[in-house]
Symmetry: C2
């Protein structure tokens, strides 16, 4: 939410839904810039190295949503629509004790139902709940979306509409491919791949929750009245494309180790310490490339973790006895995603051909049931996205 004008805009949408006879629960985020400002205050004071500091972080940062919830309820009341705000603790939406990144434990819906029964619009401060100790806890990034989907699940809502800065999910990033098309529907599984691959529309967590509880979720723009993109079950997508979208991510770094002894347990010796350091390894390929039984391993990590990852690997030299360590932070990942891959073959080879046609070298390949990802030099990323978008017939006519 940006400002008062935007709050009025939301109130107008609520009115429209209500005029159609729908009971409405609205989950709000903080106004534009507010959360950043509050987090800025906290970071000016604390390095957030203790559980107590995260507890106070939550006390501070949760206020942004609290303010918006009151302002929206107020706006609705002024329009003659009975409305009441609920902070996380007033619902209550109960969480665990993990301040700053709490998980939802349970939601008591009695208070909300009571309000809905009285025809009152329920305005919930998103992103927050209450711990067993009675403290405010925030849900971490994308927490308001998670609140919304969780509430929709508990209340068995007909639909969960998520208003964002974008007006839906596109076949790829329209800033790179102007011919990208908005998808009317996408399956949860595809959305998960799109989200975790760098399409910043919805956090993975809320998509997972929507999938697990079968919440029909619509992503749409708070700035326009266009229909958005509907997240649905796979079987609800009638006409399956081979490829639904092209996702990409620049937040990648590659680390390669050569000449590791190819004996059992080497992978564990490498990846366990990385996991313990909290480094999220994404792609992994291992090839026996030489005659002497040695092997090469290449893996990718988020670019911001690259230096830390390299340190960890250097510390393992005496155990892994690798010959050389190479790293490259100028890499990016591009992926073709689509549930259609389950029934269509040849997607991977079509993808490699399209990249080869543009002279783009593939560094690493990984595949899953519904996606093919390749790592390439970062400077080719836009070219690759455009080439694949076109090759899989996704361009608008």
């Amino acid at each position: 939410m940006a400002n008062i004008e935007r709050i009025r805009n939301v109130a107008g949408r609520v009115k429209k839904e209500r005029d159609q006879g729908n009971g409405v629960v609205v989950v709000v985020s903080a106004m534009a810039g507010v959360t950043n400002q509050l987090v800025g205050y906290v970071q000016e004071i604390s390095g957030l190295h203790t559980p107590e500091s995260w507890r106070e972080y939550d006390q501070v940062v949760s206020s942004g949503e609290q303010v918006t919830s009151g302002l929206l309820a107020l706006t609705l009341n002024e329009m003659g629509i009975p409305a009441q705000s609920f902070a996380g603790g007033q619902i209550p939406l109960k969480t665990d004790n993990s301040h700053g990144r709490a998980r939802i434990a349970s939601i008591e819906s009695a208070e909300i139902r009571r309000a809905l029964d009285k025809d009152i619009v329920v305005v919930v401060a998103g992103f927050q709940g209450i711990t067993p100790d009675g403290r405010v806890a925030t849900l971490g990034r994308g927490g308001s979306d998670t609140s919304a989907v969780a509430l929709a699940a508990v209340l068995k809502a007909d639909r969960c509409d998520i208003y964002t800065d974008v007006d839906g999910v596109y076949t790829t990033d329209p800033r790179i491919v102007p011919a990208a098309r908005k998808l009317a529907k996408i399956s949860y599984e595809e959305m998960l791949e799109m989200a975790s691959l760098g399409a910043k529309v919805l956090q993975t967590r809320s998509v997972e929750m929507a999938m697990n509880h079968g919440v029909v979720t619509q992503v749409l723009s708070s700035f326009s009245d266009e229909p958005g993109t509907l997240l649905v079950n796979e079987e609800d997508i009638v006409e399956q494309q081979k490829v639904t979208g092209i996702a990409y991510s620049r937040d990648e770094a590659r680390i390669s180790l050569t000449g590791i002894a190819n004996v059992p347990g080497m992978s564990a010796k490498l990846f366990t310490p990385l996991a313990e350091a909290g480094i999220n390894v994404d792609m992994i390929v291992q090839n026996v490339t030489e005659g002497d039984g040695a092997t090469d391993i290449t893996f990718t990590v988020p670019r911001s973790d690259a230096d830390r990852a390299i340190k960890v690997v250097e510390g393992l030299h005496s155990q892994l006895k690798y010959r050389s360590l190479h790293s490259d932070k100028a890499v990016a990942k591009v992926s073709a995603v689509g549930i259609g891959m389950r029934s269509h073959s040849g997607i991977a080879s079509q993808m490699f051909q399209a990249l080869a046609d543009k002279g783009i070298n593939i560094i690493v390949i990984t595949t899953s049931e519904i996606k093919v990802s390749v790592l390439i030099n970062e400077e080719y990323i836009e070219l690759a996205v455009r080439a694949l978008h076109s090759a899989f017939g996704l361009d608008k006519e």
Copy 2:
């Protein structure tokens, strides 16, 4: 509280108290400008004409103190001092249902005591509590001071220090009389008169509460380390001056009615409708001035209510049958306040003489046990304050 720097400053004071072996409960207000900003948002949306709108007002406006409480606890934790923030509902500080101007119903001190017993500094978000319905309620103007005094009373604190923009209570406004002196001590009763007469240091409500519960309260500056002014019982002030201070108020308007029939019940007919209109009448004088049994009545109201008061009085013309109605918004009130008046006589005449010496005309006089107030033309107000301050021997040597 102004900003992070000021929060650090407060943390330093808390540390000093704690180093002396004192358990500390800190009550915080919002950071500078925050409450005004939040109230501004609310007013942009709503005229606040319904109880529901005040309920949402509280949901929004209470967040300012919540933020400061978290930030201060965080700052203390960073300094190695265990500290925990408490929003009003987390104490809980229970209020009635009067959103926007709630009264404190009770304070449960168990949670706070538990924290103090563990040597944890308790940081309370001031200005707020929780209603029987579980909603946040704010305490109205000066609410953080009220929270502090109420907590001090419940916890039987040795002292309640209130940090403000000024460094204590002065014999009069130092902007008008540079020779004004800071009072080391003032009695609750005098402070009440000073506060309600326009010395803006502490709200009447918190002074009353301190008096009723015998809370030793210190007013001091958050910007300096000077000792402030101690509010104490009358008997704790050893050397009583005849006059302790000169207070003044420009927020005055005079309304005079002439030629009212001097029969019983006329005053009630005039002042009951004014009270019902929510207009706070301050000074009242009634004189029989003519031979025909008619009387004149003059009274004062806050300047902002003058036009409304005049309308009410005009509506009463058929009942009161007054001959003429005069009003004057260019008046001001100046008062000499002192518990010493109880034992010294002649204060009023000394006051009138001092004003007469400067050629200042007195419009209305009212007196109480410990104060004498006069209404004068506003343009003489500074002159009058200086003359009285000097006449009662209050000027610094």
